[in-house]
Structure formats: C-alpha cells, structure tokens
C-alpha cells in the first residue's frame, strides 16, 4: 500500500515536470496557433490574441494554465475551436483503444502460435524460418511495414481499404502493422520459455505418463512459459500506445495518436498539452499496474524492500 502511495506521488511530480517542460518548449518553438499564410490586419490579430490570452506575459500564462489544469480542466482546443480538449480525447479514445486491442490480439495470437510451433521442433526448418521472420519483424519499423502493406493489399490485390475508419476491414492493416513487431518479440519469449519448460521435471513427468507431444507442449509446458509473456505485456501495451501515433497518421485513423501529431504541427497548445499529460499519466499508471500484477503472479517478487 505504501508502495502505491509513493508511486502515485512520484507520478504527480512527473506530471508537473512534464507540464513545465512542455509549456516552455511549445512557446519556444517559432510560430503559434494562429500563424497563417494570410495575415489578418494587426487590429484583428490583437483581438484574437486577447481572446486567447496570448498577449499576457509568459509567466502569467504559465500560472493560469497550471491553475486550470490542476482543476482538471484541459481547456478549449485552439485549432479545433468547436471542441474542448476533453471532448477531443473522448472522441479519439475509442479508435485508439480499438486499434491497440486489435494489435495486442494480433501480437498474442501470431506471436504465441509462432513460438509454440518453433519450440515443437527446435532447430528444424520451420523454427529457423520463424526465428528469421521474427528478427525481421523486430527490426523493421511499423511505418515501413505500413507502406509495404498498403502497396500489396490495397494497390496490388484490392483486398483492404487504404485508410479511414468505420468497420472491421479498416482495422486489419493498421492493427497488423502495429502488432507484428510485438508478435515477433512474444514468439521469441514463448519459444525460449517453452524450451526451458520442456527440460523441466514436470514435463518429464507428463511425458512419462504417456501424454502426446502436442499435449505436452500446449497444456503442460505453455503454462510455465507464460510468465515472461505477461511481464512483457506492460512494455508492449506502452509501445503499442505510443506506436499508434505513427500508424494512426499513416492510415488516417481518428484516434488520440493522430490528434497528438496534428496538435504538435498545428501549434494547438492546449490540445498538445492535454495529450502529453494524458500519455504521461497512462504510462505512469501502466507501470504501477504491471508492478502490482507481478506481485500477484509471481510469489518471488515483493514490493516492499
């Protein structure tokens, strides 16, 4: 319990640090939310700046914004003036979660499957192929994979929609591109975990009782091999969450990752700040959850030092 309280306190300090750094970094970059190729007359410009309080001294803007954020008010988006930041997050959240979940399912199913098949005949042709594929999967960045996938599945074979959001077909390409790298990692974890488990006493016992080869691998050994996979899920979810920033942009998926990229390029101060803090919070909470889960899962791990 003490551990959790301490971690939450650290998270709060982290949020404040991230806020301060982002606030000054954003303002230090040239250009603002209302820069445009067509300059309005100076009087109009002044009216706009006054309305958004951009004419106040920087330190006052800093404290105003900190006060607002600490009350839980993320403010109004600069660039999408009809929406508050909270509304933007609410609108983008489902798409990001859907994409992330699909990617995780892809990672688990393909990664787990490949790992099991590899481990069944270690050193065989299938194993070598699978391991090479997973090596490539880890090395190739997701956006490169996305380009290739669009070329093949959209232009060449007309199988899947090029981009957009609205039905299951739209999720296949982005979720695969996002999930495959993690599938590769998971297949390696499952394979090595399985190989280790196959050497263990309980597996030998199962074999000696006459269980078939597949039954030994899937029922008896796999359970023991799951530990590393579960602890890898924390970093994997974090990676998928941040990785979806790129994939959402490539496939024009209206999730928070896409909003994040656009907020940065369009100098949408409030939206960018809201999303930076959201990501910080999510990753922080994820870290705490994984640590707690590990205690539940593994009797050897303890939180209190």
């Amino acid at each position: 319990m003490k551990f959790i309280v301490r971690r939450i306190a650290w998270l709060a300090i982290m949020l404040w640090t991230v806020f301060t750094i982002s606030f000054f970094l954003m303002r230090a970059v040239p250009g603002g939310p209302f820069s445009s190729e067509r300059q309005p007359p100076p009087e109009v410009r002044k009216a706009i700046e006054r309305r958004y309080q951009l004419d106040a001294p920087l330190w006052r803007q800093y404290f105003t914004e900190m006060g607002r954020l600490s009350r839980g008010d993320l403010g109004q988006s600069f660039r999408m003036a009809d929406y508050t930041v909270a509304e933007v997050i609410a609108a983008g959240w489902p798409a990001t979660v859907t994409l992330g979940t699909m990617a995780l399912v892809v990672a688990l199913v393909i990664g787990g499957g490949a790992g099991v098949i590899s481990a069944a005949r270690p050193g065989g042709v299938v194993d070598v192929l699978m391991r090479s594929a997973s090596m490539v999967g880890i090395a190739v960045p997701s956006f490169a994979l996305a380009g290739l996938a669009v070329l093949l599945f959209v232009y060449q074979w007309h199988l899947l929609p090029a981009a957009g959001w609205g039905d299951v077909a739209h999720t296949v390409l982005p979720a695969s591109c996002l999930g495959l790298a993690y599938a590769a990692e998971i297949s390696r974890l499952v394979r090595s975990g399985l190989l280790e488990a196959l050497q263990s006493d309980w597996v030998r016992t199962a074999r000696s009782k006459g269980a078939g080869r597949w039954r030994v691998v899937v029922v008896h050994a796999l359970r023991g091999a799951l530990g590393p996979v579960v602890s890898f899920l924390g970093p994997a979810i974090a990676g998928i969450l941040t990785g979806s920033v790129v994939i959402e942009k490539v496939f024009a998926i209206p999730g928070i990752g896409y909003h994040f990229v656009e907020a940065a390029t369009q100098r949408d101060y409030t939206l960018a700040m809201g999303l930076v803090l959201l990501y910080t919070l999510l990753l922080g909470v994820l870290g705490i959850v994984v640590d707690v889960l590990q205690v539940i899962l593994d009797p050897r791990v303890s939180l209190e030092r």
């Binding site: 040239p30 603002g32 009216a47 979660v97 995780l104 399912v105 929609p161 090029a162 205690v295 009797p299």
Partner: protein, 631 residues
Amino acid sequence: MLARLRSMVPALLVVLVVAAGMWAVSFPNEPPADFVFINGTEPRSLDPQRVTGQPEGRLVGSLFEGLLRWDPRTLEPRGGLAKNWTVSADGLIYTFYLRPACWSDGEPIDAFGVIAAWRRMLDPATAAEYAYQIWSVKGAKNYSVGLIAKGDFVEVELDGPPVDPQLPFARGRVVRGVLENIDSLDSRDNSSLSREPTREGFSDQWIYTVNGQRYAAASHASTRTGDAIAARCILPDFQTTVGLHAQSDTLTVELQRPTPYFPQLLAFYPLAPVPMHVIDRYGSPGWTSQKHMVSSGPYRLGFRRLRDRIRLVRNDLYWDRESVKIGSIDALAIESSSTAFALFTTGAVDWNTSIPPFAARTLIKRESPELRTSPELTIGFYRINTTRAPLSDKRVRQALSLALDRTDIVQTVFGPGEVPSKSFVPSGIESFTGYIPAATIQENADLARQLLAEAGFPKGKGFPRITLSFNADEGHQMVAELVQAQWKEQLGIDFELVSMEWGAFLHSQSTLDFWIARSGWIGDYVDPNTFLDLFVTGGANNQTGFSSDSYDALIAAAADETDRNRRNNLFRDAEMILMQELPVLPLFVRTSKNLVAPWVRNFHNNPLDIHPLSALDIDSQARDIGRRGGR
C-alpha cells in the same frame, strides 16, 4: 488468495483477450453517404465567422447561405438569401431585397437577423479573423477595432445577466449615449490629464463617463472603481455609426467607398448570416455541435466525427431545395495527399482535392480524364527581404528576376500545362474584370549579369552567401533547387537552401527574418485589389519591407474610383511599379488539380477553385459499378 488468483490468470487472460477483440470489432453501422470527398485538414470550426481556410469554406459554404452566392460556372454573384439588389449611381448604397427563407429549424430569416449576425462578426469579442471582409461598410472598421474618443456616441455593454433568461449567451444589456469623459482609474492621479487617450480601445486603465454615469471594465474588480458600473465593453454606437439598416425584408448597406467587388464578398462564406437565435441560446462554440446547429444553406449537419468525417444531409427547408441533387455527403478529414490518392484510386471517394506531385505529373502526361485542371487566381512567387543589403539594391533584385527561366521551372516541376507568370496578378483575371496584368517581366541573362556588375558584384564576386527558404514540401524543394541552379549558372551566386517547418517558416516571414522566401497568394475575390493591396506600406501581408509612396497613392486612388477603366488603369500603374521594384519575383500561376470520378456531373473548373456541393450531381448507377470495380 494470491495463489488462487495466480492459477486463474491464464484463463482470465484468454477471456480478456477474446472479450477485448469482440468489443474492438463492434462498430456503429451507418449507411454510406451518396457522395464522398477528401476535404483536407480537419476544419477549425463550423462557425462561418471564425474560419478562413478552404476545407472550412467547402463545408460552411454548403451549410450557410449568403445574401448572394457564386455561379459555379462563371463565378458571378447570384441571388442567395437576397432575391435581387440595386446599387446607387455613386456605388455607395446597396439595397438588398430578401426572399422568404428560413433556418433549418423553421425560424424565418429577415434583414434584422442579417445585421445582428454581422454585428457579431464585427464585435472584437468574437475575434473574427475575416472581420476585415466587411470593413468596406461605413463605420464597420471603427466598430470592429473599437476605437472611441471623448464626444463619440457609444454603446456600453453591461456586465451581468442577459436581458432574456432564455438566451443565456446573448449580449449583456446595452446602454447608448455620449462618451463625456475618460478619467484615470486613480482619481488622485492628476498626471492622467496630460496623457488622456486620444482615440483608443476600451481598456481597464480608465473610467468612462457616458450620460453622467461612470463605467469601468468588468475584469477590473477593484474598490478603486468606486461607484462605476461594470461594463464588458464600450464600442462606437452600432445603430448610428455603422452603415447597415433593415426593414423586415429590405437591407440597406452604406459603404465607406465604392467597392466594385462588394457583391463578391457577399457570396464569400464568411459573410453568410449565422443563426443568432441559436447562438444566443447555446453560446459559442456550443451552437456548432451536432445537437444544436441550425443552418440556412442547401445542407444541414448530419454528424461530426473528429478527424474522420463530417456528414452533410440535404436541408429540406432550403429555399432552393429543388436544385439540390445529392442527398448526403461525407467530407473526409484526410491530411496526407498520398492517403487521399490511395482512397480515390480504390474508388472509396468521388472527389479528391489534394494530389501528390508525383501522381500529378504522371496523370498530366497520361491526360487522365479524371484529372481536372484550371489556372487559378493564385500566384506562386518568391518574396525578397528588401530591408537587407544587397537585396535592398533594386538592380540586384532585377538581376535575380532576369536570370530566371520560368518556363523551364514549371515544365520540370509540374509537367506540361502549367503557366509561368510574367506579372504578379494572374493573367486569368482579365476575362472577369477587364484588368490586363502588367506582364513586364523579362528574362535576359546578359542584362542580369550587367545589372549585377553595376551593383558591385561582377560575375557574382563578393556576393554574400544568403539563403532561399521554403516550407518543407517536395514541390517547393524542386522549384528552389532549380532556381538555385539557374542563379548559380547565370550569375555566379550561390544560394543556400533552407527547408523549414510550416510554423517556423511563417514566423520567419512575418518577422522579416529571411532573405528570399517562397510564397503564394490565393485571390480572396476576383479583383486586382486582392493581389495589389498586399504591398502597401505596412500592410500585414507585405512582408518584404517594400514601401513606395507612389504605389500607396495609386492603390488608395483606385479604392475611391468608380469608373472601371480608370480604376483598372490605376491598378496597372501600381503593378508596373511593383514589377520595376520587384520586392517579389512572380514565378508561375498555380493550377488547380482535382481528381473527379467519371460519375460526378456538373463539376465546373473555375479560377477560384470553388465547387459548391449543391451544384454537383452523380450518376448513381455508374458510381455503383465503378466503386465495385475500383480503378
């Protein structure tokens, strides 16, 4: 307890994965729209008074009807909410006769509503970027800038609850009267007398006396204001100082000076009236939400999904509903031109407004029937910072211009069909306005070298190494590389190319922190003024440091001239000066490029690249076959 949890984990994990997968693939089921197009970036807003961009314009222009509207073929202003109008002989008084029309909630639209909507646009609190589009109306600029002085007739908007509790977002109560005095906030401070404001905006530094009553800014809650009443704002009196008058279905507009393009401004979306009865009720931006928005145009808002799509549905209460052919339209918010191109080629969209340069070159070469191109009223040019030596020397600027081979540039970068420009005003304007641009730019490398030598840089010797900047983009980069090579070859000058991120690039221009920078200008309306008034001294879009008294005088004279020929001549003389002084190097007239599916009818090319959605039609049979097959 923990042990039991542990043994359940694998099973829990499987259940969780399956459940998450099931949830993830459940999507709301909506019928597809009849017509889908790529609209570019997510619109800033759907409030006509708060937007300026083209993606916003396509939507707002379909949701809101102006007093007038464009003819999609000729771009001539036609009757919209106004069925016809008259102009006085001196070009100063316009009278509009409104037709019976109503908002999509059945509320009628009358002349008072139009004025109330325009007042909102001019109110400094609205911070409308395009407010200056109606500054040609008498008194409008003063009201929108909010300058007041002692003796003026003013209106005071009081702080406090609105008059009608049903309309919580309406303006506060308004008191009108003569501004008798402006005092310093601190009554003991006698020095204020010496620095009494001459004519400036409402500020919390002063106490204002109107009709014997003292008023102070509401934001300044302080004991020092004494008996003063809290006011939100004090502006020149709208009713008596702004030239707008209403009589149920007649609207009279008094202009500051004759503005021949005034009807065009009325057809432009920012001046379309907004529903004040809804705005006063739900506030801004609350009124633009899917739930509350009410429209007056051919379409109403179906739904909005952020950075995904905006669905427009035919407005059954639109006055000209019979002529609207397409029932529902989806505007996709897609920024990347290669994604947009992929969607068009796979038949997912019917109209693509943004084409990647690589695809455009190929399509032009293949003479694809789906590619519709038309010279636009848009000039691509380079800005020169005339405040920095050696660019401050006119001969250097002329040499840079003379040494270019514009035809080579456009042919290489854009392919055939693009037009190099020898004037700043695009040549396409002639057929609409009779204005013949001053195409006096020459290309002559020998003369260029001679001028450069006269300026003290024979064969480019001693010329400082300066930069040519552009915003990161494949096309801009190619143009810059060609220009760089031509200047190097012809003049012996070596420019450094700087590719910049958009925000930083704009900042460098507005602060005059550049040497030579790529730029472009899209005409706001079909008139030479939209191009030439950019370069008056101190103009917000001048951004070259250029200043010429005779140029300023010519532009000012043209603004007061009612005779079309004489006005065109004044503009022409001004453009001659511009092409002599060359604070800008015109390069080419941009060509609009749209990919339009073969089943789309009534898509007309025009130089403003404006394609009202209400004018389009589709052959649905051909579309269904085409969409299935892909392309």
